[in-house]
Amino acid sequence: MATVSLKNINKTYANGHQAIENLNLDITDGEMLVLVGPSGCGKSTSLRMVAGLETITGGDLYIDDVRVNDLEPSERDIAMVFQNYALYPHMTVFQNMAYGLKNRKVPKDEIQKKVEKAAEILEITNLLHNKPGQLSGGQRQRVAMGRAIVRNPKVFLFDEPLSNLDAKLRVQMRIEIKRLQQEFATTAIYVTHDQVEAMTLADRLVVMNEGNVEQVGPPIELYEKPATQFVAGFLGSPAMNFLDASLNGNRLTLSADVVLELNDPNLPADAHDLDVVLGIRPEHMEACEEAEADFTLSVDMIEPLGADTLLYGYFPGTESLITSEQPGKQQFKRGHRLALRVDRERCHLFDKATGKRLGS
């Protein structure tokens, strides 16, 4: 039960490299905040600063309105789950989970009770006397979670906890983490580079890039209204298509043959030959009759995924490779000419120079 607040947080390394620039985030009580971004974007550094494993070189960090910049990690009442689990290899599962409590001088019988309860929640009671070396990846992950929940901390911190698991287990554990976090209603910060994980787990999502926050908001909002081209390209799989275009009022010229009339009152009315980037998701281009089509795509490569089929081809008259997602029941062949219509309502326009979103 806690709030976490980052105010103008900066991190500059001794070699002068600035990893985080003026980070401002407010995490409300019981919220699951997910930090997502490509590697090197500063998401792990931010998390480690909250944990106290990394010094904060500027700004203030508050947990429950107490400034914790100078507190040791153990004094911040947080628990962290690491990517490689970081279980103590020579201790049994029980000892692993009890270690933090033992160091806090919790009475023995209480430790016993708490560990057993946490083990029950995570269904690892039968593993309590095994050593981590004898456990599978998923079981180790559970133990790592158990070590976090047994202390009932103010904040859970997750540092890419699922990236060492295989795909199937990852989905299973993802659901488990969500369930646990909701059950305990504990404030949590979760770092990942996997956008599916980010979308599914987050109450609010923070997309980071090169030490800066690109956008903060509920996952669906970020997906539907990405504020920058970076966010648009990062979220969604398969990734959004980007096409260079020029904008005149509501007229979008993609190539000599392809011109789209948009109907967005919020576009800059005075736009005159403005260089923009059109973002359109693969699932927002519909197959249609030749007559209604905006353009035809000559299919170059096909990836059947079962439920859907991904079709790749060059946008006519350009060298931009684009992806189209079509229902899987239809059969396609290489060289197939696919007539496509762009969903006007789901076009995203970005200023080519700044990468910022244009219009609504």
């Binding site: 944990a51 970081a86 279980l87 160091n103």
Partner: protein
């Protein structure tokens, strides 16, 4: 490699048998000689089969009956000296080097790298090279003829520090971070996490260092004049150079066998941990 080439098998076995012979024959000679009486050696030839003495030579050497060793102390006393020396050196080296490696790997302090390289440089200065200055220091501190003098100058060890440093660096840093979050300070982390993880390495090092300490010859020879501090290795050499051409081979070989025993016991006893410590990395 599973191959069935008879001549290769034969050659392989011949090479191995030759190796066993080269190692084993001198030990056999020593063992046989220790059971013969001194008269068997007058001809100048080594007997190749057990003699009449049985354990008589051992009894005489261990109790120094009739001053067979040419000194006033018995072999059992000298083995005790050797044991103390080997133990203190092995334990001392491990304690000092594990602590310095811990400091070098886990703490950020000024001139950390310099410290490491200074330690590393001492690899170039083994006892034999710095023996005169070291003697001077030990003499001025009044540590001649003492256990402290026998052991302390040999305790600092770059090799062991280096080995622990490499091992600590292979321990994932998240383990230390997890311990910090779990409320373990530097000392607790060392005691609860690092030390238990290092057990195999410690065992492997102990075996090597115990033998190193036990086999010391030059240093104890230099700083002990009081026979009460003689080590078993020293006396073997003394026996050989003793006297009027009549070298007591049976006594020498008996002492040799005795001197060989403790290292063998240590190796056999710690074999499993020793091998683990040398090969096992991450679990």
């Amino acid at each position: 490699m599973v191959e069935n080439r008879p001549w290769l098998t034969v050659t392989r076995h011949l090479v191995l048998i030759l190796g066993v012979f080269i190692i084993g024959f001198p030990i056999w000679i020593a063992l046989v000689a220790s059971t013969n009486s001194s008269s068997e050696f007058v001809s100048g030839l080594m007997p190749l089969w057990f003699g009449e003495e049985g354990f008589g030579n051992f009894r005489r050497v261990l109790t120094n009956e009739e001053r067979v060793l040419g000194v006033s102390v018995s072999a059992s006393w000298m083995m005790w000296n050797s044991f103390i020396m080997a133990m203190v050196i092995a334990v001392g080296k491990i304690v000092i080097s594990i602590l310095s490696a811990y400091a070098i790997v886990y703490f950020r302090f000024p001139f950390r790298k310099t410290c490491f390289w200074l330690i590393f440089l001492t690899l170039m200065l083994p006892v034999e090279v710095r023996i005169l200055p070291t003697y001077e220091v030990v003499a001025s501190l009044g540590m001649l003829n003492s256990y402290a003098g026998l052991t302390i100058p040999l305790i600092a060890s770059a090799t062991a520090t280096f080995l622990f440093r490499q091992f600590f660096m292979s321990v994932p840093s998240s383990l230390m971070e997890a311990a910090r979050i779990d409320g373990a300070g530097p000392f607790k982390f060392f005691k609860d996490i690092l030390l238990p993880l290092s057990v195999n390495n410690i065992a492997a090092l102990f075996v090597i260092l115990f033998i190193y300490g036990w086999n010391q010859y030059l240093w104890p020879l230099l700083i002990t004049t009081d026979e009460n501090y003689y080590t078993i290795v020293m006396v073997i050499k003394r026996l050989m150079s003793a006297g009027e051409g009549n070298i007591p081979w049976n006594i020498i070989m008996t002492t040799t066998i005795l001197a060989m025993l403790p290292p063998v016991i240590v190796v056999l006893g710690m074999q499993k941990l020793f091998v683990k410590g040398l090969i096992e990395q991450e679990k």
